[in-house]
Amino acid sequence: MSEREFYIDPSRCIGCKSCMQACEECDTHRGHSMINFDFIDRPETIATAAYVCFHCEDPTCAQVCPADAIKKGLDGIVQSALEPRCIGCSNCVVACPFGIPKMKVAEEQMMKCDMCYDRTSVGKKPMCATVCPSQALTFAAPADIARDRRETPTNVFYFGEQKVVTKVFMMVPEGVEAVSVDVVDYMWEERAWL
């Protein structure tokens, strides 16, 4: 099942945080959730987004690490900082264009999503993608994604002049027009009712 890839589709996310609750159950980092989660702007919208490390081909976090503590494996997975090497400087936390790494102050170690290598190596899906009720986080074969989803995947991102290619895919919507998220705009009453 190694041909399966990780897909993130924020448009499916319902903000339930099941991924965060399940991530901290994973055996390699019990008690620590490695999920990044945002309420985009709760006063304005119900939109939420949960995401994991994108596992860049040329990880910025590793480039900026002064202690050479961040390693990418042959499987393309970028690991948490090696505990004996990590000096807790937070360069990676600041530099990552996706804002993924988390400094665990108590442990003096940068920790991040390792794509559940303990699970994927034995044919299971990562924990978050297994439990996600909306499948905003999905671990699936590319052919299945192409067949089943209305959105399409991309793994190329531009941050200013920096081009980043990632192992993890982001689902991109078909041409979506601007969507209003104010209930008032859907109502019938006179706008000045108050």
Binding site: S11, R12, I14, G15, C16, K17, S18, M20, Q21, A22, E24, E25, D27, R30, G31, R42, P43, E44, T45, I46, A47, T48, K125, M127, T130, V131, C132, P133, S134, Q135, D148, R149, R150, V181, D182, V183, V184, Y186, M187, W188, E189, W193, L194
Partner: protein, 743 residues
């Protein structure tokens, strides 16, 4: 009698809620030791009943592993399912029977507790009549336990008053579906949802209350399906709605009638289906004429063009499904609301074929199974009416009593509390129910509890209601007793016993049987294992509507659930009801039912100009007895809040985080404001999972739908005012301080 034996703070110090953040033995300890076993079972919370594997070591549940092979959820779980295992080894767990004393609760022996309970119940019945005691059950119980409670009330106690907390959940839908179709069950299996071309979701916060159903809705969209959401709030699924109708609270019926009017005016109805498979159409067609588009828009607050568009989308599809939940049902006209939605499906022929139909999204774990076999005040096992002579004769034979010994219908859940308040009912035995948090008008509920002359509770944690008990019988968690439940889609599934109860706690069925023995009725309750109860239940349901006769534990395991009706061992079960438009009525017809308009029992006016509606958040479940004890879930939403649109907030100079006193005709509570554009400006929302000064149900009212007897939780009238931050002490907060962190 049933006043609190100690201060609320003292009770909470001993019995919680305390927060459990880590598994028994700690994170690292568990990681170092593989579990002894993985038990394939189901979640203990909502009506989705997701498959889950529990990790067990040393007779304690220490974690979970997704169960990817179970066909409903394929391993998916919401945060409640992920963290439910933290009830295992919880410090608040009741390990012994408790008796109230002047100094608080004291541990006692089972024999003392059971003898005392039986004696007090009998004394009250001898003095005041059989019906002076009532029984409360719950929809988190397995079907075996629910069946047992019904039999216990009617055979061991001989009272007609037994009802259950499903009265707060599914009864409006059931009361509408039964006359329309002849059965109270969702007509479709969930696998139909992705096959629809149009989904109409009315009053269902799917993402938070039935999270896994989201994946079915998104799959439908992936295949080109369109989503229409009807709700006063933009709930999370609205982010992908093709059409959003922000209905004013309490006006769903008008909207649905307006849609039907559009359909009939434009000739979009399915005449062939109506003529072949329905009766009663003409009367309903005559009624909708009054619902002209302009009036409907003014009444509901939904633009006329959106109503037209929704009607055309729904009627124009070959396959369409209408999903609904409590937002449609928690009304003084909850039954009419559901009937109006059914009428819409019948008029458009959306029933009885793949990808078409209507479905109630059951809220409680065994909301479906828990109401089918006898703990509902007006039903006997198999969904038989308690007033039906044939049904009574069948069940009486199974029970070994004369039909006339079965009492007639008793009061519903809220009516029982009202009868307690006026002194008519003097004793109560309750299991799996926390009415002090979940019933409307909580101040009234507390007054009623304090009037009880005897109050016995079976529970695993000391709920806010159980704090008022004379005796607490330490019962079992879901994972501690085998049985079946029936999920929202009508699938009967198998709950495994993963562990045995800790300490001196006992499995619920044994407690009930022992109590029956102490009441001198042992011969009617000879069971030593849930399987024996299930086998009797199968017989009792045989020939009824919800016929379980062909279902066995082994078949469920082999077939990953069996959909009822399943009348014989060789019957495959019935995933989709009313196939080809044929109902379960003797004539096979589906019935259009008229839906007269009725005002809310708590209308807005100049003094109370704002609508209050209540509901759930994703990280809490019902009255919170379980989920308010799980650290990760409490952190996700530590306190209730009042959701306010910025337009309403601005008119009152309210800014985010302000403390707001919300006042209704009952009383007031003070909560923090959450200012969001995702709610109608004439409406505020408060989640209801908390007790005391944070209890939304202090604000709600006891108006019931006259037939289903469901309370009108979704519409109250209120006003808002800025307030000072309340003191975080129990006296200021009513009953129970705020607690977010536990050392």
């Amino acid at each position: 009698m049933a006043k609190l034996p100690q201060s609320i703070d003292a009770l909470i110090d001993t019995y919680g809620p305390h927060l459990n953040f880590t598994p028994a033995g700690g994170w690292l300890n568990e990681a170092q030791h593989a579990p002894d076993t993985l038990v394939k079972t189901h979640c203990c919370f909502c009506g989705q009943q997701c498959g889950i594997q529990l990790k067990v070591r040393d007779n304690t549940v220490i974690g979970f592993e997704p169960w990817e092979d179970f066909p409903f959820n394929h391993g998916m779980l919401c945060p409640k399912g992920v963290k439910r295992y933290l009830q295992g080894g919880h410090r608040d767990r009741l390990l012994d029977p408790l008796m109230r004393t002047d100094q608080g609760f004291e541990k006692t022996s089972w024999d003392t507790a059971l003898s005392f309970t039986a004696r007090r119940l009998r004394e009250l019945q001898d003095r005041h009549g059989k019906d002076a005691v009532a029984v409360y059950g719950g929809a988190s119980l397995t079907t075996e336990k629910a069946y047992l409670m019904g039999k216990f009330a009617r055979v061991a106690l001989g009272t007609r008053h037994i009802d259950y907390n499903g009265r707060l959940c599914m009864v409006s839908a059931g009361t509408a579906y039964k006359p329309a179709f002849g059965a109270d069950r969702s007509p479709i299996p969930w696998s139909d949802i992705p096959k629809a071309q149009v989904l109409l979701v009315v009053g269902a916060n799917v993402a938070e209350c039935a999270p896994i159903t989201t994946s079915y809705i998104w799959k439908c969209r992936d295949q080109g399906g369109k989503l229409i959401v009807v709700d006063p709030r933009m709930t999370p699924i609205t982010r992908n709605a093709d059409l959003y109708l922000p209905v004013r609270p309490g006006t769903d019926l008008v909207l649905l009638m307006g849609m039907l009017n559009v359909i009939l005016s434009e000739g979009l109805e399915d005449r062939a289906f109506i003529e072949a498979h329905t009766s009663g159409f003409d009367a309903v067609a005559a009624d909708v004429a009054a619902y002209d588009l302009r009036s409907v828009a003014e009444h509901t607050g939904v633009p006329p063009e959106a109503i037209e568009k929704a009607a055309r989308m729904f009627a124009g599809a070959d396959r369409a499904i209408a999903l609904h939940a409590r937002g449609l049902e928690h009304h003084s006209k909850g039954v009419e609301n559901c009937s109006a939605l059914i009428n819409l499906c019948l008029a458009t022929g959306h029933l009885g074929h793949e990808g078409s139909g209507c479905a109630m999204i059951t809220g409680q774990g065994n909301g479906q199974g828990g109401r089918e076999h006898g703990q509902k005040c007006d039903q006997l096992p198999g969904q038989r009416s308690i007033s039906d002579p044939e049904g009574r004769a069948h069940v009486a034979k199974v029970w070994g009593i004369a039909p006339e010994e079965i009492p007639q219908a008793g009061y519903s859940a809220v009516e029982i509390m009202e009868a307690i308040h006026r002194g008519e009912i003097k004793g109560l035995l309750s299991i799996c129910f926390n009415p002090l948090v979940s019933l409307p008008d909580a101040t009234f509920t507390r007054e009623a509890l304090e009037k009880l002359e005897f109050f016995g509770v079976i529970d695993f944690f000391l709920s806010e209601t159980a704090q008022h008990a004379d005796v607490v019988l330490a019962g079992s968690l879901q994972e501690e007793e085998e049985g079946v439940v029936c999920s929202a889609e009508g699938r009967v599934i198998h709950i495994q016993q993963a562990v045995t109860p800790p300490g001196n706690a006992r499995v619920d069925s044994r407690i009930i049987c022992d109590l029956a023995e102490h009441l001198g009725k042992k011969t009617f309750f000879p069971y030593t294992h849930p399987r024996e109860i299930f086998d009797e239940l199968r017989e009792a349901s045989r020939g009824g509507i919800a016929d379980y006769y062909g279902i066995t534990y082994e078949r469920i395991d082999r077939e990953q659930g069996v959909f009822w009706p399943c009348p014989s061992a060789d019957h495959p079960g019935t995933p989709r009801l009313f196939e080809g438009g044929v109902s379960m009525h003797p004539d096979g017809k589906c019935r259009f039912l008229q839906t007269p308009w009725r005002e809310s029992g708590d209308p807005v006016d100049a003094d109370f100009p704002i609508y209050l509606t209540t509901g759930r958040v994703v990280s809490q479940y019902l009255s919170g007895t379980q989920t308010r004890r799980i650290g990760g879930l409490v952190e996700q939403c530590p306190e209730p809040f009042v959701e306010i649109h910025p337009r309403l907030a601005g008119s009152l100079n309210i800014v985010p985080g302000d403390w707001i006193t919300v006042t209704t005709r009952r009383t007031e509570i003070t909560l923090q404001a959450s200012i969001v554009k995702t709610i109608r400006p004439d409406t505020v929302f408060i989640p209801y999972h908390w007790p005391g000064g944070r209890s939304a149900n202090r604000l709600t009212h006891r108006t019931l739908d006259p037939r289903s007897k469901i309370p009108e939780f979704k519409v109250s009238a209120c006003r808002l005012a800025k307030a000072a931050r309340p003191l975080s002490t129990s006296s200021a907060w009513g009953w129970g301080p705020t607690r977010t962190k536990e050392s």
